[in-house]
Structures are given as structure tokens and as C-alpha cells.
């Protein structure tokens, strides 16, 4: 399924992928990469949507995402389809580009409203304090809602390319676990017991469990337990729907049209994280379609830093004596050699860390984006990254 060269692999992803998930650790340029892929897809005639989680302000502004909104918003073609990317072929006719910034709480609220049996039930849940915590603070809720939203967009079928930026967690793979985590919460034994209708609950709950609950109440306060119980009563009848939904969302992650793009920087910790993520994907029978390495230093030639440093030292010696003009020139030249040695060292260290990355992450093609002179936060700079990724 994957093409060998990174350019071809990325072409294939934006031309024939349906759901594309950009994953990686924080600060490596995931959002930017997701936006670039969506823009390039649109340039190739696809109806593309980028779903972002937490974009930097200026990129959000560029994408027209000034406020959180639950619905995608289309971006004027004049902004992204311009001549700034002369190479972008558009063989399938003009495409479209939309963007959406995920709002975890309102996505969850919609879900509750949709699955509640009556509007009153929905209302009771939405007003419950425990529910507000679940919607806002449960670890993994953001990840789960990202998947939920993805599933909804996929079902609606309005977009043929959906590129998703994953939440900024240190552990890039939290979101893979998110549907499971919700299910685990629902399956928790204490939960099951509390879920029982009042009378059965009193009968089934052993003295041991009651004692347990009393102690929990003593530690965290009894209103907490009351909230949980009220929530569970209100939630009654809906949990199976949620469970099924979590299973469907999980299945979407395994769909052959879902592609994973790993995003990393050339730093060791980020590469280790990408590697770990790739292993987890492989374990669960999903493959990595491509790896994008952002912010790579240019190589600046092939010389060894040690030789360059030795050269700088020789020049230092020259700069210690002799005519002033010669001393100054030697000192300035020594500084230039030292700088080249520094940059060669980092290029070499990056190369060492990237060595074998392809093998380590299951043979996926690896694309490199060099350090750019500016922050990527407008369509011109997105196009610049696009040119690098899509023309090799």
C-alpha cells in the first residue's frame, strides 16, 4: 500500500487517503503538517477538511478559526489555491478546503443530546456536575471526542479527505486508547454496581461495598458520590449506545482508508516517541503511511566537525601575532569555521538519530522539512512546506 519514495507516499496519502491522522509528541509541528496535507489535497481537487485540536493563534487565524465552532468552515480558494504552489497539479478539478477546531465539551454535549431517550434525560445529564467533569476533564475525553467527531464527519460523507491533528499529549498514543478508556470506565465494577436501579442496587451492593463507598465519601466528600450516583441514574440506558459507539470509532482507526502520518523532529526524544508509536500501530495491525521530520538542519557540506575545529584553531594561532589586518582576518575566518563545525555537528547528530528510522518504524518512507526562516502560520508558508514535501 505504501509507496517507497516519500514524495510518492505523500501524494498517495492526499490523493487517495480518506482519514489521515497526524500523530507525534508535542512541539514537533503536527498541526502545521496536518494543515499542509489538507491544503495539498485540496490543490489536487479533493474536498479536504483539516481538524485541529489546539492550533497556535496565528495559524488558527489563517485557517479562519477565530472561535471554537462545532461545524467546519470553508476557506476561500483565493487564499490557498494561489500561484504560490506552481507545482501542485490539479487534475481532478478544483478542490475545496475547510477547517474545524475541535470543541471537546460541545461535541460530548451533542452526543448526549443525540443518544438520550428524552430531552429531559439529556437535560439532567448536561446539568450534572459529574458529567461536566467527565466532559471537560476526564483524561482521554479530548482524544475520544476527536475520534468521535472524526467518526461523525466520516459518516456524514461530506468530505473525501479528513486530516486530523491529534491532541498535544506527551504520550502521542493516548488517543488510540481513548475509546477503550471510556469503555473501561463504563465497565468498572463500582460503576456497574452503582448503575443498578435503586432497589436492586441496595440488594446487590454488599456490606463491603457500602463500607467502601462510605470511606470514599469520607475522603472526597459525600456530595461527590451523590453526583456520581445522580449521573449514573440519568445516564441509564445510554451506556450501551456509548459502548457500541466506542467500538465503531475504534474500528474506524483500523479502516484501510485510515492513514497514519507520524510527525517528529530530528531530536532523539521525539524520534523515540515516534518509534514507540509506530510499534503500537504495528501491534494493532495498522501501518505508518509516512513519517515527516520537521525542522531538520541543512547539512552544509560533508566535512567532519573535528577537522573544521582544528582548522579554526590553526587560524586562532595565526590571529595571535603578525600584522593587525592579517590577525583580524584570521580571527574572523576562525569564527566562520567554528560556526560551520557547530552546524556540521548538529547535522551529524541529527543524521545519526535519523539513521535507521525507516527500518525502526516499519519501513515507512521518511520526508524531511528543513528549518525554515520563519514560523509557519499563513498560507504562503504552508505552501512553502508543501513544496518541500511534495517535490522532494
Amino acid at each position: 500500500m505504501t509507496a517507497d519514495a516519500p514524495v510518492e507516499a505523500l501524494e498517495q496519502i492526499v490523493r487517495s487517503g480518506h482519514v489521515v491522522i497526524c500523530a507525534g509528541s508535542g512541539g514537533v509541528g503536527k498541526t502545521t503538517t496536518a494543515a499542509v496535507l489538507a491544503v495539498e489535497g485540496a490543490r489536487r481537487g479533493r474536498n479536504a477538511l483539516v481538524v485541529t485540536i489546539d492550533p497556535a493563534k496565528r495559524l488558527a487565524n489563517a485557517l479562519g478559526l477565530d472561535t471554537l465552532s462545532d461545524t467546519p468552515h470553508e476557506i476561500d480558494r483565493a487564499l490557498w489555491g494561489a500561484a504560490s504552489a506552481p507545482r501542485a497539479p490539479s487534475d481532478g478539478g478544483p478542490g475545496r478546503l475547510s477547517a474545524l477546531m475541535l470543541d471537546t465539551e460541545s461535541t460530548f454535549d451533542h452526543l448526549v443530546t443525540r443518544y438520550a431517550e428524552t430531552p429531559e434525560q439529556a437535560q439532567r445529564i448536561l446539568e450534572n456536575r459529574f458529567y461536566r467533569n467527565v466532559a471537560g476533564a476526564l483524561s482521554g475525553t479530548q482524544e475520544y471526542m476527536a475520534m468521535e467527531k472524526l467518526h461523525e464527519l466520516h459518516e456524514e460523507g461530506a468530505y473525501d479527505l479528513i486530516v486530523v491533528d491529534t491532541p498535544p499529549t506527551r504520550h502521542a498514543l493516548d488517543f488510540l486508547d481513548a475509546p477503550n478508556r471510556i469503555t473501561r470506565l463504563l465497565d468498572n465494577r463500582i460503576f456497574r454496581l452503582l448503575m443498578m436501579p435503586t432497589r436492586a442496587y441496595m440488594k446487590a451492593v454488599s456490606a463491603g461495598v457500602q463500607r467502601f463507598l462510605r470511606i470514599v465519601a469520607r475522603v472526597v466528600g459525600s456530595e461527590v458520590i451523590d453526583d456520581v450516583v445522580a449521573f449514573l441514574r440519568a445516564f441509564e440506558g445510554m451506556e450501551d449506545g456509548f459502548r457500541e459507539r466506542a467500538a465503531v470509532v475504534l474500528a474506524l482507526l483500523s479502516d484501510p482508508h485510515t492513514r497514519f502520518v507520524l510527525v517528529t523532529s530530528p531530536r532523539r526524544d521525539a524520534i523515540d516517541e515516534a518509534h514507540y508509536f509506530a510499534e503500537r500501530l504495528t501491534e494493532t495491525d495498522r501501518g505508518v503511511a509516512a513519517v515527516v521530520v520537521n525542522r531538520v538542519h541543512p547539512p552544509f557540506g560533508v566535512e567532519q566537525p573535528e577537522g573544521l575545529r582544528a582548522r579554526a584553531e590553526t587560524l586562532d594561532a595565526l590571529s595571535a601575532s603578525g600584522p593587525a589586518g592579517r590577525r583580524r582576518a584570521a580571527a574572523r575566518l576562525a569564527a566562520a569555521y567554528r560556526n560551520l563545525a557547530d552546524l556540521r555537528s548538529i547535522a551529524r547528530a541529527e543524521r545519526d538519530h535519523l539513521e535507521g528510522v525507516r527500518e525502526r518504524i516499519g519501513g515507512a518512507p521518511v520526508a524531511f522539512v528543513p528549518y525554515l526562516d520563519r514560523d509557519v502560520h499563513d498560507f504562503d508558508s504552508l505552501a512553502e512546506v508543501g513544496r518541500v514535501l511534495f517535490s522532494g
Binding site: G26, R170, G221, R268, D269, F300, A329, A349
Partner: protein, 317 residues
């Protein structure tokens, strides 16, 4: 200000910043500087693996303290283990095992926002009061999370009206609000997005969480240099110094110098913008020319940190 005074200003220092700005690097450098000044240091990791141990050539951290470097120990903290320990300390060891086994912590933690943060910060407070180390450094969760991490004790006070957890939260808030006990050091790199986020985080931490901020640590700064950026200029210098430089090498030297100058200019502009928008002293740490941290680099950064601290004026009192 000398390093010892700086490191003794509060026993707890929280190092916070956006992912990828080098929080762990700064944590390591700060620990080395404090250890050199004769203080015993405990570094606490609260989120995932961070590369701290590997920077000192040690294996992954665990829940028990290990020595990373002379004078520096480190450990990992998880809410689950902190809860079990908390309950055991309060004579509830039977329930603690049960809570852990049934996974009920997830339910309780969901019911009480910030519960996990309280457990972690409560443990930190305990370490602070036990005098386990002269300096306790917390490598905080990534930026946005750092704010909610520090806000949660206050939030919990609003949500829970009784019980030991409330007492715990009140004690943590007391520690966080006392600049003589706890400070936050924010880390950023001189680039646009990280600078923007740092400014937002700084105001949120000071105004909303009420925690005092130390100087901002600007990581990854290129030292200022005036380099020849064209091959012609390189060849002129070579002629004046009476040495031979091949054309290819002149091209590499010029390209490397031009790259460095461009990045230097971007950084200078961002450092200035940060100073405009945030009235906190800055300490600049040099860019480390390596793609992964080693002990020697940490030592270099500790030198730079010490030099930066030396330029700070001590706050009277």
C-alpha cells in the same frame, strides 16, 4: 545574585513550558547548578518519560528515588501511587489496595476535577515539608496543562466542601501562594509561537493560579556573532590571512554563516518581543549543538544558567 541564593529562594521550583522547548533540559541544568552550590536536589517527574534520566546516562526513573548525579536524586510521581500512599498514611491501607485494584481512582478522579493534580501536589508538599532535599524541582506537565495543574487545588476547594482531600487542597494552595516556598520558572525558545504561549501561560499562572514566577529561561539561543556570509567575503579574508580556502569550503562556510545570521536575527526579534510583552527578567541559555542531551551538555547549560543568575539583582527582603 549567586547560585546558592537563587536556588534557596524557595524549596519548590516548578519548571514549566510548551512541549519541545527544553523543559527537561532546563530542569537538569538547574539541578546541576544547585548541586554545585552545595544543595541537595530532588527532581520530580510527573508526566511520562522525559529523557531526564538518559541525559545523565541513567535508566528510566521509577517511583523510588535514584541518584542521577552527585547531589541530585530523581523520582517519578503518579497519581495512583500518590493516592495509595496518601490513604496508607491516613490509616486506610485496606481501602487503598482496593481502590487501586478496582480502578475506582479513575471514577473518583473524574468525579473530583483536579483530584490527580492534588494527589501529586500533595505529595510534593509532603516532600517539601519533610525536608527530603534542599531543593525540589518539578518537571511540570506541558504548558497548557501546567496552568490547570497549578489551578486545580483552588478549583477543588470550590468543589469539595469537606474531608481530608479538601484539607490537602488547602495546604497545597497555601504552599503555591507563598513565594518563599514555591516558584515557577517558565521556559521558552526564542520563536514566535512559543513566545506567544509563554506570555499567556505567565499571566495565567500569576493572575489566576497566584503562583510567583522566577525569571524566564530562554533556551536555545545562538550566541551573537558577526560572520562573513558570502563566499567572496570568505575568500577576501582568506587572502588577508594568507591561507587557502577551497571554493567548496567557502560556499559551506558562507551558507552556514548566513543560516546562523538569519536565525540569530529571528531570535533577537523574538527575545525583544518577549521582553516587551512580559516584564520578567530573562536568562538566556545557549543552543546546544547536539540533537539529544548528554551530561556534558547539561554541565555547559548549568554554567550558562549560573552566569545568567549572576546578572540578576537580588530582590530585597
Amino acid at each position: 545574585m549567586d547560585a546558592r541564593a537563587f536556588c534557596s529562594a524557595s524549596r519548590v521550583v516548578v519548571v514549566a513550558g510548551k512541549g519541545g522547548v527544553g523543559k527537561t533540559t532546563v530542569t537538569a541544568a538547574l539541578a546541576v547548578m544547585a548541586a554545585r552550590a552545595g544543595l541537595s536536589v530532588l527532581v520530580v517527574e510527573v508526566e511520562g518519560k522525559s529523557g531526564l534520566a538518559s541525559a545523565f546516562g541513567k535508566p528510566e526513573l521509577g517511583y523510588h528515588e535514584i541518584e542521577l548525579h552527585p547531589g541530585i536524586t530523581a523520582r517519578f510521581l503518579t497519581p495512583d501511587e500518590a493516592l495509595v500512599e496518601y490513604l496508607e498514611d491516613h490509616g486506610l491501607s485496606r481501602i487503598s489496595r482496593r481502590l487501586a485494584r478496582t480502578g475506582a481512582l479513575e471514577v473518583v478522579a473524574t468525579a473530583v476535577p483536579g483530584m490527580k493534580d492534588i494527589l501529586l501536589l500533595g505529595k510534593v508538599k509532603q516532600l517539601e515539608q519533610d525536608g527530603t532535599a534542599d531543593l525540589v524541582i518539578i518537571d511540570a506537565p506541558a504548558a497548557g496543562h501546567a496552568v490547570s495543574f497549578l489551578l486545580s487545588p483552588q478549583g477543588l476547594l470550590d468543589a469539595v466542601h469537606a474531608g481530608p482531600i479538601r484539607k490537602q487542597a488547602a495546604e497545597v494552595v497555601e504552599m503555591l501562594h507563598d513565594p518563599a516556598r514555591c516558584r515557577v520558572l517558565l521556559v521558552t525558545v526564542p520563536e514566535e509561537t512559543p513566545v506567544n504561549e509563554l506570555v499567556e501561560t505567565a499571566y495565567a499562572i500569576e493572575d489566576r493560579a497566584g503562583v510567583s514566577l522566577g525569571p524566564v529561561l530562554v533556551n536555545g539561543c545562538y550566541p551573537e556573532t558577526d560572520l562573513p556570509t558570502s563566499p567572496a567575503e570568505i575568500q577576501e579574508l582568506a587572502a588577508a590571512a594568507d591561507v587557502f580556502v577551497s571554493d567548496r569550503e567557502a560556499d559551506d562556510l558562507a551558507a552556514a554563516a548566513a543560516f546562523r545570521s538569519r536565525r540569530g536575527a529571528i531570535q533577537a526579534a523574538q527575545i525583544e518581543r518577549l521582553a516587551d510583552r512580559l516584564p520578567l527578567p530573562q536568562i538566556r541559555l545557549p543552543f546546544v549543538f547536539a540533537a539529544g542531551l548528554r551530561t556534558a551538555d547539561v554541565e555547559l547549560l548549568a554554567d550558562a544558567l549560573e552566569a545568567g543568575v549572576g546578572t540578576l539583582t537580588p530582590v530585597p527582603g
